[in-house]
Every structure is written in C-alpha cells, then in structure tokens.
C-alpha cells in the first residue's frame, strides 16, 4: 500500500490559488491518485482523480509528473468555503479508502 505524505496544514487568503502537494514515492503501476475534501462534521467528498499528467474539473486541477511520485492539487481562487481538510489517497486494488491525516486548509479574508 503506497504511503502518502502531505503537509499538515496550510493557510491562504481568499482569491489566491492554493497548491497542495502530496508525496507518494512507492506508488504502484496500477495505482490512481485521488483527492477528497472534508468539511467539519461532514463526510469526505470526492474532488478529483488522475493517473498521470493533468486532470481538470470544475473544482480543481490535479498535476501528476511523469514519475508519478508526487501530485499537486490546485484550487484556483479559493474562498472561505474552501476551508476544509484535503486528503490525498493512492489506490487501486481493494475496496477500502485509506485516509491519512490530510492537509487542513484555512482560508481567511
């Protein structure tokens, strides 16, 4: 099981772009990189998933370099409501999602 490492916390001002980098040196060939978001007292919510290069949706972008040993979640122009914990997961086989401690993002005015 590939282990992930991400910063414990990050701070940002409203309107800025936030980039959260996750390290996953032991990622396997068949693993996908997935990011979830969790607001206080709520269940996690899927944000984005990718295998390589760049993936973009209406919420975020995910950048994955060629060696796939890291990935960066990019949140454009964050607002106060983006304050949450962001989890980077590496998964393929099995049913369980293995959440780490995540990155606690605080957005202030």
């Amino acid at each position: 099981l590939a282990k992930t490492t991400q910063p414990i916390s990050m701070d940002s001002y409203e309107g800025q772009e936030v980039n959260i980098t996750c390290s996953h040196n032991n990622i396997a060939t068949n693993d996908y990189i997935t990011w979830y978001q969790q607001f206080p007292s709520q269940g996690p919510r899927f944000i984005i998933q990718g295998y390589k290069t760049k993936v973009t949706n209406e919420v975020a972008s995910l950048f994955i370099p060629a060696d796939r040993k890291s990935s960066t979640l990019s949140l454009p122009r964050v607002s106060l409501s983006d304050t949450a914990v962001y989890y980077c997961l590496v998964e393929n086989s099995g049913y369980a999602l293995n959440f780490g401690k995540g990155t606690s993002l605080l957005v202030t005015p």
Binding site: Q38, S41, R45, Y87, N92, A96, F99, G102
Partner: protein, 116 residues
C-alpha cells in the same frame, strides 16, 4: 442530486448497549461501506459490502460489529455491546463500482455515536 442519507444524526447510548446505525445508499449503487472517525483523528475504514456479503473488513471490524442489508434500500451497522472507545462519527458510503479507476465513494453526513 442523489445522496447517501444516515439516521440518526446523533445517537447516545450506555456502555454495553446495542446500537444500530442506518444508512440509505444511493439507489443504483452496488457497493456499500462503513467508516468511522474518532474526534480529531483520521477517517478509518471498517467494512465494505457487495452482493449481500462482506467483501473486505478492517481489524477494527471485530465480532461486535455486523452489517446487513435488510431490504433493497437500507444498509445497517450494528454494534452489539458498545464500549466507550466506540464513540465516533460513523460514515456510510456507497459507490457504483468496487475497485479500480474512478471508484468514487459517496459519503453520507454521518451519525455521531456517543457511548456513556
């Protein structure tokens, strides 16, 4: 937009009592899960369920836990004899597929279980 629902939102029980947490997964999903999150800690996988049987479980999911899909819509987690350390937020989730790419799991709002 379809969503996973859970009842009750908060359950208080005495140590040693049995509790049943209920979930209604998204209707066309085939895989169901329970996770828990002790206050201030990470989300932990408990069990996954497919085709009326457990497909995977963690070490946390011991003999005091059981899951059931009693009808076509509900998915329940039973804790037979609650302990103080079972106090946590319990999340139900469902997904249209079990593994591999784009296995997005949809989480419910959670049930906060408090064991006194």
């Amino acid at each position: 937009e379809p969503e996973v629902t859970q009842t009750p939102s908060h359950q208080v029980t005495q140590m040693g009592q049995e509790v049943i947490l209920r979930c209604v997964p998204i209707s066309n999903h085939l895989y169901f899960y329970w996770y828990r999150q002790i206050l201030g800690q990470k989300v932990e996988f408990l069990v996954s369920f497919y085709n009326n049987e457990i497909s995977e479980k963690s070490e946390i999911f011991d003999d005091q836990f059981s899951v059931e899909r009693p009808d076509g819509s509900n998915f329940t987690l039973k804790i037979r004899s609650t302990k103080l350390e079972d106090s946590a937020m319990y999340f139900c989730a469902s997904s249209p597929k079990g593994t591999g790419s784009y296995n997005e799991q949809f989480f419910g709002p959670g049930t906060r279980l408090t064991v006194l």
